[in-house]
């Protein structure tokens, strides 16, 4: 509940960004750079004289939207591959699992960074890179659930009744094995937002001048000693978002009765 409330507040604030900020997030004012916080500029201005508070709010739009969207493709890809591997078994399972072994051999960030580098920085590359790496967790979870469910009465019964494999997979197995993957997706959104922010910090993500939390922290890093809030405030936004999503995930897994 606390998680949902916090997330609602964050989304509300981000959605109402034009009302809560007094300045255009992209409006530069080179006569007013690196100013301290004031009534008109609650977080001061950045190195180009842009309102840090307005950028913080508008950046939330990019990070939340990309973070949520980038979870969908790995979820679907991993679920489909997990279903196929678990249900068919045999060489199909073996091939999918060996590919999975290879992907998990790479540290998550290293592979994502390398793929985004190869493809060229930008939002499209982020989606592709995260999908190529993050599907493995879903495939693993779903495959495990399918292996268990396959032995249960309802699947056996459906098979004995002569239902086709696609029908059993879609109508009977999928609704029953999806729960754990949905729970995992909640914590995966946190990791995905972190990845988007990290890529932004490295200059590989959302390209300027679009405000983004990671890119803001990169800008702020140079002024850590004189204007620490420029780099720390976007981080606080990330932590609060992560906390809200983790609390929801925790509540969800307690609700669905798993440890």
């Amino acid at each position: 509940m606390a998680g949902l409330a916090l997330l609602a507040v964050i989304i509300g604030v981000v959605a109402a960004a034009p009302l809560l900020a007094r300045h255009d997030p992209d409006q530069q004012n080179l006569l007013h750079v690196l100013a301290g916080p004031s009534g008109s500029y609650p977080l001061g201005t950045d190195d180009l004289g842009r309102d840090a508070w307005a950028r913080l709010l508008f950046a939330g739009r990019a990070d939340l939207a990309i973070g949520f969207a980038a979870v969908i493709a790995p979820f679907i890809l991993g679920t489909v591959l997990g279903l196929i591997a678990g249900y068919l078994g045999g060489w199909v399972d073996a091939v999918i699992m060996r590919v999975l072994d290879i992907v998990v051999a790479f540290p998550f960030y290293v592979l994502v960074i390398a793929i985004v580098f190869a493809l060229g920085a930008g939002v499209g590359s982020i989606f592709l890179a995260i999908t190529a790496v993050a599907w493995v967790s879903y495939a693993r979870i779903i495959r495990g659930e399918v292996l268990v469910a396959k032995r249960l009465g309802y699947v056996q019964a459906a098979r004995a009744a002569g239902l086709s494999s696609p029908r059993i997979l879609l109508r009977h197995l999928t609704p029953n094995v999806l729960g754990q993957a949905v729970i995992y997706a909640m914590s995966d959104i946190v990791l995905t937002i972190l990845a988007v922010v990290t890529l932004g910090y490295l200059g590989l993500g959302v390209q300027p001048p679009t405000p983004e939390w990671g890119a803001m922290m990169q800008t702020g890093e140079a002024y850590l000693s004189i204007h620490p809030w420029l780099a720390t405030a976007p981080g606080i936004a990330v932590v609060l978002t992560g906390l809200a999503l983790s609390l929801i995930g925790d509540g969800l897994s307690a609700e669905l009765g798993s440890s």
């Binding site: 072994d101 998550f108 592979l111 390398a114 580098f117 946190v190 922290m217 983790s246």
Partner: protein, 312 residues
């Protein structure tokens, strides 16, 4: 036992081959002609042709992959376009820094996680437990580099206790430079470790032999440490091994924040200089590190625990 080891080694070789296939494919993900794209608009036709020939881009793909494998087997990780030195030299220089940082980080992480998990497990369901259980929820949402910023602001810019960056030249300076990065690594490690260690402890503390030990009248701390902690550490550390890839990946950015000349910084300079051989080989080295540590952990586990079942 020997069958298990043989099977595990075969799997290791297979994964390693797959990993090289993936790093090989990386070059071909580059849109257009990789040599032209990576060299940028200012490159002359001759420069592009030279890189083209070096990478053997005009040869059929299977032949290119075979060349790549042969090259790797000779220990040739390519040459940095930017530094004009073998990539293996650069990695050899950087790897000890990364490993030292991870060791310091693991030390801090374990040192923080054990008392926290013990506290939570003993006070299960009470305020202290709830406080410790919130920790992973906050901790997992923190960007590692942001934790680095906070530590820099507090311990380097406000209280001038530690250097703000660099690695120094003497071993004492090295150690001093590793404290803040180590703490940052620990900030990422501790939440994962606390969560699994607490669960394992709660499990162990409810088991018969712990109840029996308490009934025999052993001192409380003795039961906790000798019986509880000892048995809870194995599952907790294996959770750490499972998350190794995530932790190693996070260290890339941490090195960058503190200006440590490790493998992560090497990867990022490779990216900024569009130095493909560095990016490709560092990616490969990271995977090699993960696969080797996992293999070592599995074999050590099989040797230590007679109950480990053969096969998967």
């Amino acid at each position: 036992m020997s069958r298990y080891i043989a099977g595990r080694l075969a799997q290791f070789v297979l994964v390693l081959l797959g990993v090289t296939l993936a790093t090989f494919a990386l070059l071909h993900l580059v849109p257009g002609n990789p040599a032209r794209t990576l060299l940028g608009a200012h490159a002359t036709a001759a420069e592009v042709a030279l890189l083209d020939r070096e990478w053997g881009l005009s040869r059929p793909l299977p032949a290119q992959y075979a060349d790549y494998l042969v090259r790797l087997l000779h220990g040739n990780l390519g040459t940095s376009i930017y530094y004009q030195v073998p990539v293996s030299t650069l990695i050899g220089r950087a790897l000890p820094v990364t490993l030292a940082m991870l060791a310091v980080g693991a030390f801090f992480g374990i040192a923080a996680a054990i008392p926290l998990a013990l506290l939570a497990a003993v006070r299960q369901g009470r305020a202290a437990d709830h406080a410790v259980r919130i920790l992973p929820l906050v901790g997992l949402g923190m960007p590692p580099f942001w934790v680095g910023f906070i530590l820099l602001i507090v311990f380097s810019l406000t209280v001038r206790l530690f250097p703000a960056g660099g690695y120094g030249t003497t071993p004492a300076q090295h150690l001093e430079s590793l404290i803040l990065p180590g703490l940052t690594v620990a900030a990422v490690t501790t939440p994962i470790l606390v969560r699994s260690l607490r669960l394992a402890l709660v499990d162990v503390l409810g088991s018969d032999f712990v109840i029996a030990a308490t009934a025999r009248g052993l001192a409380r701390w003795r039961v906790l440490v000798r019986h509880g902690l000892r048995n809870a550490l194995v599952p907790a550390v294996s959770v750490l091994a499972v998350n190794l890839g995530y932790l190693l990946g996070g260290s890339v950015v941490i090195e960058n924040v503190f200006g440590l000349p490790g493998v992560g910084s090497l990867l990022l300079t490779g990216i900024f200089n569009r130095d493909f051989d560095i990016v490709q080989s560092v990616t490969l080295i990271y995977a090699l590190l993960v696969v080797l540590i996992n293999l070592g952990a599995d074999l050590a586990y099989a040797a230590l625990d007679p109950r480990v079942v053969l096969g998967r």
